[in-house]
Symmetry: C2
Subunit: 322 residues, 2 copies
């Protein structure tokens, strides 16, 4: 009896990604002992070709982007990664070379982030390639970083730089010129989950999330969870050198950076008294962190002011899936 | 600031499905303490409209089918369910009434199977509706039912009845007449995960899986895992009354029942000496089980013989995703 082609595809490309507990992807499910004395942290994200990645993105980066957006959710909870399950709905024409590159990218990230494939499903679709990934992590009991917990008077912090992902998408779509190093496109295709920083902030940050839908909208989530507002200084928002160069040429881009999404940086709250400790722990992780505003009493509104203190008008509050 | 529509949709339809650990679906991830002293069991399945369900299937049954196929994987491991994460890629036109019915179906099954929604993601797609679900369960350490472990001389057992799902699909596609009770279509749309039976078989069955790709192909998986063959008596394969009536009229349908897929029954191996215990435990669960063949020495080939002892020729070994 010959096996249908998907078994051969899975065996060739995905089985080498399987780790402890995956039972070689040959059983009905994975079986693993959870880390003793830890809580589980679980998140899932989906990506659709043409919506969340470009159909002609290199296949090496597509699986990695999905894995990294999920790892970013773990980072935002202060959790350490454990493993993942992935389902792939592939078009019939998906060739073995595409799958090989897709799997090679994942293998690279598995080594970098210390995770492995636990299980999943491969099906065919007449529509766009659709991927879904569930990440499994762990955290010390009661130490998960929640979205609730910010309070008026606390600082608004963000890691890394904001806007590169949105600009990278515009570069890849031919709307903006590429930077020489390919930094912006690289940030769109390969987010950098701030796992070490997230774990280092446990017990220090009062609230956290990862910026996926746009800085202003995601800051709004922290405000709603806290029942307060936030004042954001646009000039304080950290930009990469290529992003700063583009904004210097075209100041009208700034609102887009603040609302654009695809940043996957950590946005968190901490009392002013904790500022030195936050900076020290971030430095120990090798990640820049920047204070960009304060939580303020009042409604859950994010007020954004430019360098002259004038209110910035933002067209969109952030990325909407619909 | 108004929230984008997907937040409102998720809040209205999916938040009522959230259980302990889901943090109201408002955080970056779910956080839960794993059951003490148990191993985790994890599986994921995807479904595409027009491939794994019919686009005009009632929305009440679509999410339930996906949940039940995943629960069936837990059943095949002898595991108890804990919760699930789900990603939904929906077309822009998906209305609130469709979503309400989709969620209502899930709510019904959550109550029946004792699970709740832990997290997920809702995105838009230009293509067919694509759903992915990761199920989380638990089992006593070392007690998971694996696919490996069958041996020559052991019996082949199956739960419930075979072929209803494949016939139900043919009924829904207008190829076969419907039975008066709608049993066949119901079995296609709503599989019955054999959770109690799976748990009752721990320590008794030597190998198990759930029949999703067709009885003969899935029996082939047990054979390959065991390094032996199987002799299957087609006349012993349990059929429901509507399926038996159709086969009596059209004997040519029988091979299709044996290879058709969508059964979600448990197929398992047990030594002949355990037969009485298997029957007793199944009876205690209220599930029929039937001996349909034996594992035999030799290559991993499934030989199917009809009531006269003649070899049945089967065109396809089972359902292929590609």
């Amino acid at each position: 009896m010959t096996l249908p082609p998907e078994f051969e595809l899975i065996a060739r490309h995905f089985r080498p990604l399987a780790g402890p507990g995956a039972l070689g992807l040959t059983d009905d499910a994975a079986v693993l002992a959870p880390p003793a004395g830890r809580e589980l942290v679980l998140a899932a994200d989906a990506m659709v070709a043409g919506v969340h990645f470009l159909p002609d993105d290199p296949p090496e980066t597509i699986g990695r982007k999905l894995l990294r957006t999920n790892l970013s959710d773990l980072a935002a909870m202060g959790a350490a990664p454990l493993g993942y399950l992935m389902t792939t709905a592939l078009t019939r024409g998906t060739g073995s070379s595409w799958l090989a590159a897709f799997a090679a990218g994942l293998r690279e990230d598995q080594a970098e982030f210390g995770v492995s494939l636990l299980g999943g499903d491969t099906v065919s679709t007449p529509g766009p390639v659709t991927l879904s990934l569930t990440i499994l992590g762990h955290v010390a009991p009661g130490r998960a970083l929640r979205r609730t917990g910010a309070a008026p008077g606390q600082d608004v912090w963000v890691s890394g730089s904001i806007g590169d992902g949105a600009l990278g998408l515009a570069v890849l779509q031919g709307e903006l010129p590429a930077d020489a190093e390919g930094h912006l496109a690289g940030r769109y295709r390969l987010p950098r989950p701030r796992l070490a920083l997230g774990q280092a902030l446990a017990g220090l940050a009062t609230a956290a999330l990862d910026v996926s839908d746009g800085l202003v909208q995601d800051l709004g989530h922290l405000c709603r969870a806290a029942g307060c507002g936030a004042a954001l200084q646009a000039a304080a928002v950290p930009l990469s050198a290529p992003a700063a160069a583009l904004v210097a040429q075209r100041p009208a881009l700034l609102p887009r950076l603040l609302t654009g999404g695809d940043d996957y940086e950590l946005l968190f709250a901490a009392p002013p008294a904790a500022a030195a400790a936050v900076a020290a722990r971030a430095a120990a992780c090798g990640v820049d962190v920047t204070r960009i505003g304060q939580f303020v009493p009042g409604e859950a509104v994010v007020a954004v002011r430019d360098a002259r203190g004038e209110m910035l008008r933002l067209d969109g509050g952030g990325w909407s899936h619909f």
